[in-house]
């Protein structure tokens, strides 16, 4: 069972994602701030991170840079209400970029794709 970390400062978004992604068969942990996320990443192993950009305090992009620097093998899906972040160079470090929508099909698709990619690269000798 793949373990996901959802990072978003909106409680209801965390609830929604956690519920929906659990239904998909993942084990989901949530964090409301960058430092919470860092602590969780420190303590346990995750297979993928879903990360919001616009957060109070440390922004998602700062969290992203840390993850990429320290855990370059950990795939990250950036999730945001803005599409203009696509222009921000730091967001290019993410493996996928999804604009928030009530239809979570795209998000789920990206998560599945990245996990499969990770699987196959691990299976390779």
């Amino acid at each position: 069972m793949a373990r996901l970390l959802v990072v978003d400062d909106e409680r209801d978004i965390r609830h929604l994602y956690a519920a929906e992604l659990s239904d998909e068969g993942y084990k989901v942990e949530t964090a409301g701030t960058g430092s919470e996320a860092a602590a969780l990443l420190e303590g346990q192993a995750f297979d993928l991170v879903v990360l919001d950009i616009q957060m109070k305090g440390e922004s998602g992009l700062q969290v992203l840079q840390k993850i990429v620097k320290e855990r370059s093998d950990l795939p990250v899906v950036l999730c945001t209400a803005f599409s203009c972040y696509k222009d921000d160079f730091s967001s290019w470090l993410a493996d996928a970029y999804v604009v928030k929508s009530s239809d979570l099909t795209e998000l789920k698709g990206e998560i599945r794709r990245l996990l499969e990619k990770k699987e196959s690269s691990l299976r390779r000798p």
């Binding site: 909106e10 616009q54 370059s72 160079f89 928030k100 929508s101 009530s102 239809d103």
Partner: protein, 547 residues
Amino acid sequence: MDNGCCWHKEQIAPEDCPYVRPGESELLLNRKKRILKRCFECPHFMEGLKGLDKDPGDPVSLVPCLLDELQALRIQTRELSGQIEVRNREVKFLHEVSLVLQTSVDRDEVIAMALTAVTSGKGFGLNRAILLLVDKERHSLKGYFAVGPGKEEDAGRLWREIEDHNYTLREMARLFFEQRMAAEREKFKGLLEKLSTPLSRGDHLFIRTLNGQLSRHVEDLSRESGIDPEQIAALGVTEVVLVPLVSKERRIGLLIADNVINRRPISTEDLHSLETFALPVSFAIERAALYERLQEELVKLTEAHQRLQDQQELILRMEKMALVGKITANIAHSIRNPLTIIGGFARSLIKNIPPEDEKRRHIESIVREARRLEEVLQEVLNYSESLHPTFDLWDVNQLATGVYGGLREDLELSVIDCRLDLQPGLPMIQLDYKKMVYCLRSIINNAIEALPRGGSLGIRTSGVGDDLQITVTDSGPGISPDVLRSVTSPFFSTKEEGSGLGLSLCARILEAHGATLDIEGCEGDGTAFTIHMKTPKEENHGSTSGG
């Protein structure tokens, strides 16, 4: 002393003395005045006086000595009078020239004044004056203007008609400037063209004289080296004076004057007088030229100011648009989250509700309406983004110049000598300006960091066929093959500071542009980064003016 001479008569008749001129009838009645003024011209009288030294003891014998002295003094007086007349003419003339100088900033008016002075009886009275001026580009000495009679019968008539009115030099010059300048210019067109000489011909008489800054009185042009035979033929004289016009060591032009009509030999006085007035004339011509340049600059400045204003208005409009974009994006953000939550949970719920349940229809409505709102939101955002298209047609030379301008201070601080080599007329190309600026800056920054102790850096744009290239070269230590392989991977950095994102982001930006980055370098021999971009084949956007 009685040899038929009439000196002792108190009154004489006109036929008694051939030396009394018409209009001097007063001398016929006044013996003393007659003796002093005219008798010395009479051989009878002189003979009589010279014969007075018969007896050495007689004081009368001193008369011949006194006579010799008197004659010498008379000759000297005549010479001095002549010189005073010349000086007077000069002073008066210079005074009038200075008047024009103080008031005129029109080059042609100044020139008309100068040449009028050289050729009119009130000035120097030479037959012809020709002015050659150093052109604006400072390539050659060009025949600019000439004054003088075209043929013998014109000689003098030109000035007599206005001199009869007893005009001042200034009035004459003004009349000439207003009435005759165009005609004179036309008359001498051929001559002026023939006399034009490139400044590079240092051996040429004109250029030599101008460079030497000393006037010349050439008595026989045909014996002078470095003047073309056809120029001598065009002048039609062998004797000329050449006066260089120089203002503060700056070469202005050359004044050529001659007596093409009456062939009167040119005197040293003429030359000196011309020299005296060459300086104020040079100064005035230079000043007029400066004034003209100033006017041109003023026009340019006014235009630039206008352009700046237009730009400022454009920037203001863009800022407003950007603000609209920001507001829209913020509203979108505050709406999108709640919509995601409402719609998302509705979708969550619907999965567990059987199709026949009445609640399902209610929840479907929530899902549908949330989706509709999201679509509206996306449209608004798309619109506000379309106001600022990221990809647009740009001139790569402008891009390179802009980036270079932004980094100039850094380059100077690092003691790096930077050359910008732009190929003009490159076609416009579709690119995201902000991203490409970032990209080029990263590459140049990289090169600057490779030159901690200074060196040289080159930014070059070029295009062959549909391949546009921007190349950045540095004289740094080069890159080893290992480093070359990993230089564009994220966080790769050989440097202590910096995120190491620079070149990997560059690679991604270029990928999005369909462009490629070539890095060539060998250890110890500098590095060359080349961005290759393809110009769209089907679209011909014309070319830019380049750089």
